[in-house]
Assembly symmetry: C2
Homo-oligomer: 282 residues x 2
Amino acid sequence: MYDCAIIGGGPAGVSAALNLKALGKNFIWLSSSAVSKKVAQAELIKNYPGLPDVTGGELGWTFRNHCEGMNIRLTEELVTGVYETDGHFTLLAKDKQYEAKTVILCLGVETAKPIDGEQDFVGRGVSYCATCDGFLYKGKKIAVLCTDKKFEHEIGFLAEIAEKLYVMPMYRGYEIDFPNAEVILKNPVKLTGGMRLERVAFKNGGIDVDGMFILKGALSPATLVHGLEIKDGHIVVGRDCATNIAGVFAAGDCTGRPYQYAKAAGEGNVAAHSVVEYLSSK
Amino acid sequence: MYDCAIIGGGPAGVSAALNLKALGKNFIWLSSSAVSKKVAQAELIKNYPGLPDVTGGELGWTFRNHCEGMNIRLTEELVTGVYETDGHFTLLAKDKQYEAKTVILCLGVETAKPIDGEQDFVGRGVSYCATCDGFLYKGKKIAVLCTDKKFEHEIGFLAEIAEKLYVMPMYRGYEIDFPNAEVILKNPVKLTGGMRLERVAFKNGGIDVDGMFILKGALSPATLVHGLEIKDGHIVVGRDCATNIAGVFAAGDCTGRPYQYAKAAGEGNVAAHSVVEYLSSK
């Protein structure tokens, strides 16, 4: 059982990890990718105190080096669910699960809004993890929304299991070449069904499916943690970075504007200290 | 008229200044000393993301270099009062005054609590600035509480004006050698009087005076800004770093725990963005 699980590898997650380490806590740090895409793409950052005129790539590299120097390791896995059980939290990540007393969410900010109906069918046809849930769709028809080229290998995995795939790539330069995969260049606007997902609707028309895989780097906070208070797309936190769920904290862009490195690092710092305070109060 | 006045030279002030500069605002940055004493004294800092294993001195130097590289200048003056007039703020600093549309308070955290009665006699016998108010005490008897060796030159200035000085140095290795100055190694516990300050009380006994100078690097927030909401010794702010006074923001240790560099830098970042939002809403 970890003292804390940090979800997210951006500046808030880095700061939370450095602080939990400095405070002597036993934690796991999970992120779907070792390098924050948003950080890596930043051109020139002038306002992160102490690192003048760095590119996003340099900032990410500097952060990563700082962590390595303190023997902090990032576990590269997408967390697909956080469940509270018996006063602690269980995190699902692919075929593994982790137990932690507290959680710090450093999820960044979603660029894509959830599809209408998406949250209603999570676990009832909607999945975020091909290797976890793919076997459920042997010989069936599935939709696959792929948000990034780096998830294409998961499509290959699904193509081996399902009878038919309708793949919707949300990026340029896709390479999807499987005999049973049909590429559809439309945006899904609504998911419908009864007890389970039955249909993916487009602006015009739709497809009947048995399930849908949404391959993306981070789930929306509300999808990831049931009952989390969200306002205007951001996790609601107090000045101590505590959410409405005892033991769950949040830091960085996911808590709201400004979307800034120093703000995110500051909140990771605060969240780590709040975790320590919470643990000692138990 | 400046868009903003930042008060305080620690990490929160540095971050606020870097961000206001990056955001193209016209501001003045005031601090009683160019180097934050608290930062300079820190031995080894491990948890400021991006700067592994720096001493406080190195961190301060790195911050200062970052500012210089962006042509940001710190004005070394102690602000002794912030007054709201006609929808803007007037800052008093020695014999000068500055006008600004907004204020960011980065005052750090007071290590010394105000003396019982101190706030009641501000402007009525209690002063924080020898060169501003010394002339009022020509030929009179004054108490001087000096918190740091660096303020000793102000005692010399007062010794030339007043008839008699009772000097209470709050540090070791003091060098106070003026014919009309008597050193008292006691802590003042209460200030009393009628319309004006009349007496400084110690645990045993006291002295009758016409005035008292308290020489320190930063005034308590409540003394500096009349009407500012304080709770448990910290300035009350929202997640946007706004105080209860429209146009006044606060960042860093003065807003509460944890007293940490990343937290302070993050709040300076947030406060600067809140200032910009506030200015554009006017």
